[in-house]
Symmetry: C2
Subunit: 391 residues, 2 copies
């Protein structure tokens, strides 16, 4: 026997990485509601209610607004695989790890891919997207709203306007923004936006909220070739979520209980207050990190309020600091992805994790860990700066 | 506002449909364990432990034995999309709804598809598979072990032997058998077997256990074209589950807590006792249904112990009976799929739902519902026959 049975003894972590974020006990409790059938009339009511709540957080009237039975990346793949046919042109904004992932997926689906690049840590220049569209038509433009690898918040409106002028469909990755930052799908005129559950919504990971415009549905209907994925075929998934109720997959029942509860918490707080909370506390965090002598990767005003990415100072050992935070304070922050590995820390303040206590805690423990490696700064500088910013 | 906030007030159901099955409170409790990061050292330990437990239920030494972040159908799509390249030959056994689904997926991935058919309710003749293989080479043969639409249990060994003789890879859909019926992956020599969590394992739905032979890994490595799905690319998923620990997706953390606990329950019971429990109680159920005058669709000895499919007697209204069971007894049984819609009931005895109490309950309430529609049989005939069978 290769395994030994022990009690499930998992420590409580303060989750200040790029996600998952901490989950409200009400959400965990909701997930223990007894399982019912995926076609149970009471469960179908819950699906309807969840669609309504998702429309609320996505600020949209899109009929097709539902939860894909997979993680955020399943949402990304669903967005692309439903729109892209082999040979279709796609322009992808690439300024980080998740822009690369969009390219990787689009290529696998046979897209004729054009990259519009910016350095990691900078926004994509909307004019460059416009020029690429003017040069040669593309069916789809895909961009990341909040780049989880860099903490950059991309302005979507000018890109949406360019897409509109050139008749391209706009796909927006809202994985690290939804629930912590405005994702005004209808105001943008975005055609497909997707997210995850475990960041701004503070639900356990496992579902991918997605919303699809009528224009995107029409484009999917007009395909000449079948959608390569059966599991992520939105026309089939929609027939289960809408009044047809045609069995496609067995919905992750308890995850949907949890998601509904997490969305209820968002609605009780209200979108505007929730966004201001994220904005205010990320400003405090940035003030504190700056006072500690750390540089923020993303320039003002293009910083995602949900995720702050700071450069690791010269001579400081990344892993040693993160291990100290985890083992001594049970606190998780994220390391860098791809070329930023060892170069940055990613500090998330998302959903339930986005509290004043957590801002003060992470600044205080980071200062100690840095001091231990010989980093010099005034004692308590980070915490003091954060408190001032909050005053 | 389209939604109204109310408490999550979901009734307790006795789940005797084709899945989900009832979930042990220990499993639901495990899912409320606090969320940690998907690369947290303690979570990585849990992944290792889960792989060991999955190898135990799949009776395999396959290194790649893990949980896909999606439902059972994601497991099916993963099995096919990793092996199939456009133009590759696949032979699919089709004797029900899920054989059709295998065909649908294989076609979307560009396979050159050959169907070996049997009437719904019959097994696939292994000789026909052998003849098809002899006629023209195929890269993959795919069959359903327990057909969820018919309750037929397919003998796998002769098909595996035929695959072995002709150098084809064997894919086995073990969605409705794993945890309730032997799935001896290594003894069969199956190359990819996948399942779900919400049937024989009695965990909430949302993950797809899968196990992959070295031969299948080699075949995937030898591909000339990339795997069409990034999300279901097993080489990437494996690099997260194995010692590389390369981030691919954010694991559904709490679902994995639940799955581990559900697998621990299987191990505590033991495989043999668990299989006998399912066998014994399904025999009792069949004795009872037969005494009520119902006919079982699948012939002896090809009946899945997890799922019994009975023909609805002439003149009996399907929906009326199922609605009465649900509203009066909070008990769910399944209706027919596809051409069997309105023709059969699917009664599952899976995992935690597979109890003597449930056998007696379903026979008793079914008798009442039938009697109300004028069906004649001796009072208590079903229950009496079941008790005799259990004696």
């Amino acid at each position: 026997m290769e395994t030994s049975r022990g009690d499930l003894n998992i420590p409580f972590r303060t989750l200040l990485g790029p996600g998952p974020s901490n989950v409200h006990p009400r959400v965990l409790r909701a997930a223990t509601t007894p399982v019912v059938g995926h076609l149970d009339p009471r469960f179908l009511e819950l699906m309807d209610e969840t669609m309504g709540l998702l429309r609320f957080v996505f600020q949209t009237r899109n009929t097709i607004t539902l939860a894909i039975p997979g993680t955020g990346s399943a949402g990304m793949e669903a967005a692309l695989v439903n729109l892209i046919e082999p040979g279709d042109g796609i322009i992808v904004g690439v300024n980080g790890y998740f822009g690369e992932r969009l390219c990787e997926m689009a290529s696998r689906h046979g897209a004729e891919l054009r990259r519009v690049e910016a350095p990691w840590g900078q926004i994509i220049d909307p004019d460059q997207i416009e020029r690429a569209l003017a040069q040669r038509r593309a069916k789809v433009v895909a961009v990341v709203h909040a780049e989880t690898s860099t903490g950059v918040l991309q302005p979507i409106t000018p890109i949406a306007e360019a897409c509109n002028r050139h008749g391209a469909l706009l796909v927006v990755d809202a994985v690290t923004s939804l629930g912590g930052s405005p994702v005004p799908v209808d105001d943008w005129g975005a055609d497909v936006s997707f997210s995850c559950t475990q960041k701004g919504l503070s639900c356990p990971p496992g579902l991918a909220p997605i919303t699809v415009s009528e224009r995107a549905v029409a484009a999917a209907h007009a395909r000449r070739s079948p959608i390569q994925s059966w599991y992520l075929d939105l026309s089939l998934i929609t027939k289960y979520w809408d009044s047809n109720r045609v069995y496609h997959h067995t919905a992750p029942i308890t995850m949907l209980y949890a998601l509904r509860e997490a969305l209820c918490l968002v609605r009780e707080e209200g979108l505007e207050p929730r966004w201001s909370r994220h904005q205010r506390l990320s400003h405090a965090l940035i003030a504190g990190l700056t006072a500690l002598g750390l540089k923020i990767l993303a320039p003002e005003p293009h910083r995602a309020p949900t995720l702050t990415v700071a450069r690791i100072p010269e001579g400081i050992k990344d892993l040693e600091v993160r291990k100290a935070l985890l083992s001594e304070h049970s606190l998780e922050i994220g390391g860098g992805l791809g070329p930023l590995k060892g170069q940055v820390w990613r500090i998330g303040l998302m959903g339930e994790s986005c509290t004043q206590a957590n801002v003060l805690l992470v600044l205080s423990v980071l200062e100690s860990a840095l001091a231990r490696q010989g980093w010099k700064c005034e004692k308590g500088a980070g915490v003091v700066a954060a408190v001032k910013a909050l005053a």
